[in-house]
């Protein structure tokens, strides 16, 4: 049967339309239209919403709320989001960034979904039509959910780090990506850390062993060694055309160490 596009004025309507078999939600189309182009015949209806709440960016009292349709390039150029602009700029090339959305990135399977890795490090809340979820819970059960927006406390620039490792630069598909939010204590040591990894499982995951090992450590080479050694604990990296699971696991500690020492 031929493809169809259903445009819904509210996100609730979109949620209802998604109940039909063959219906798939479309943000910028970078993954869904691609799938149809490549012959995925299980997809027959594109569902999108023009609900204005989806394209809003709000930054108030240090907390940001990004609508699910907000594009990577809007984030990258927003004056109040410069601390995390690097994560948005890591997605695709310029044209992709003008199309790719926050919502789409949350559902993107590895090796895609670099911005979702950043959101995990930021411990974002995901606001859906069926309730609010901490991002870790959301990522564990994405199927069938419809995202309206995400919110997170905007870190200061020094606290947020992000690295995307790809074979070709400046634009390429991820070998892996790492997002980190490091909270310093009064003495300049790490009070607490959130480390998020992309391509290390079927979804972005937290590197909890590395986070524990960083508590109370300085960011000097000797001090971060235990965290670097622990960063790969529990990972099950994907194997795809970009890299094997073995390779991803091998280079993860190298890139993590570089991110901490930069």
């Amino acid at each position: 049967m031929p493809l169809a596009l259903k445009t819904c004025s509210t996100i609730a309507e979109a949620g209802a339309a998604l109940k039909d078999g063959g219906a798939r939600y479309i943000g910028g189309g970078t993954l869904v239209v691609r799938a149809a182009n490549e012959g995925d015949v299980s997809l027959s209806t594109y569902v999108r919403s023009t609900d204005p709440v989806l394209s809003a960016i709000k930054v108030e009292a240090g907390r940001a709320t990004l609508g699910a349709s907000v594009t990577m390039s809007s984030i990258a150029r927003h004056p109040d989001l410069s601390a995390i602009a690097g994560a948005a700029k890591a997605v695709g090339g310029p044209a992709i960034r003008n199309m790719a959305t926050v919502g789409g990135n949350l559902f993107a399977p590895a090796p895609y979904g670099d911005f979702a890795v950043a959101l995990l490090a930021l411990d974002a809340t995901v606001h859906t039509t069926t309730g609010d979820f901490g991002i870790e819970d959301f990522l564990a059960g994405r199927d069938g959910k419809v995202v309206a927006s995400v919110s997170f406390d905007v870190p200061s620039a020094e606290k947020f780090r992000f690295a995307k490792i790809s074979r070709t630069k400046p634009k390429g598909v991820s070998v892996l990506s790492i997002g980190a939010v490091l909270e310093p204590d009064a003495n300049g040591k790490v009070k607490s850390a959130r480390i998020a990894l992309g391509c290390m499982a079927d979804r972005p995951i937290r590197a909890r062993a590395a986070e524990k090992a960083l508590a109370g450590a300085t960011l000097r080479e000797e001090d971060v060694a235990p965290a670097v050694a622990a960063v790969g604990e529990g990972v099950q990296p994907i194997t795809d055309a970009i890299a094997s699971a073995w390779y991803r696991a091998e280079v993860l500690p190298v890139h993590f160490r570089r991110l901490l020492l930069e």
Partner: protein, 160 residues
């Protein structure tokens, strides 16, 4: 197959067509409107050959649904030269040997135009970043980067 009406401005001209539901913009531009300048190199959004500018933003026509384009302004490389007068980018691509097989060229020029419209005085790094979504298999990229910088310089000389 269901047909859907679509209306938009293409290179300054009003267009109205009935398109297949779910059709991508590249198909409508090439097969219905006869503008074959965007090229279908991959249909995946990875090569950039299909790049167009929609309401001032660089986009990939192979991933854009035509039905989402009602009321927009679309620019393609095919409409860039006016009355036979080449756009400075087109001129500089010729002068700097920035095209061999030519298949990536329209997409490259669109990406370069999107850059220069925002940033008339880009650094080399800015140019590389702006072209990072466009693949070329023939030139090795250097002549293209040179052509964009040359066009930017000539623009600023003309403006001065």
């Amino acid at each position: 197959m269901a047909k859907v009406p679509v209306q938009f401005t293409l290179n300054g001209e009003e267009k109205a067509e009935f398109v297949d539901s779910g059709a991508t913009l590249i198909k409508v531009l090439r097969d219905k409107l006869g503008d074959t300048s965007p090229k279908g190199g991959c249909n995946q959004g990875t090569c950039g050959s299909c790049s167009v500018i929609i309401d001032g933003e660089l986009k990939l026509s192979c991933l854009t649904l035509a039905e989402t384009c009602n009321g927009v302004e679309i620019l393609t490389n095919g409409g860039l030269a006016k009355d036979g007068v080449l756009h400075p980018l087109q001129r500089s691509f010729i002068d700097e040997f920035a095209a061999q097989c030519g298949f990536c060229t329209s997409g490259m020029i669109m990406a370069a135009k999107a850059l220069l419209d925002r940033n008339p005085n880009p650094s080399r790094e800015d140019v590389v970043d702006a072209l990072s979504g466009n693949i070329c298999r023939c030139t090795g990229y250097e002549p293209i980067i040179r052509a964009v910088l040359t066009a930017a310089r000539s623009n600023s000389q003309n403006a001065a």
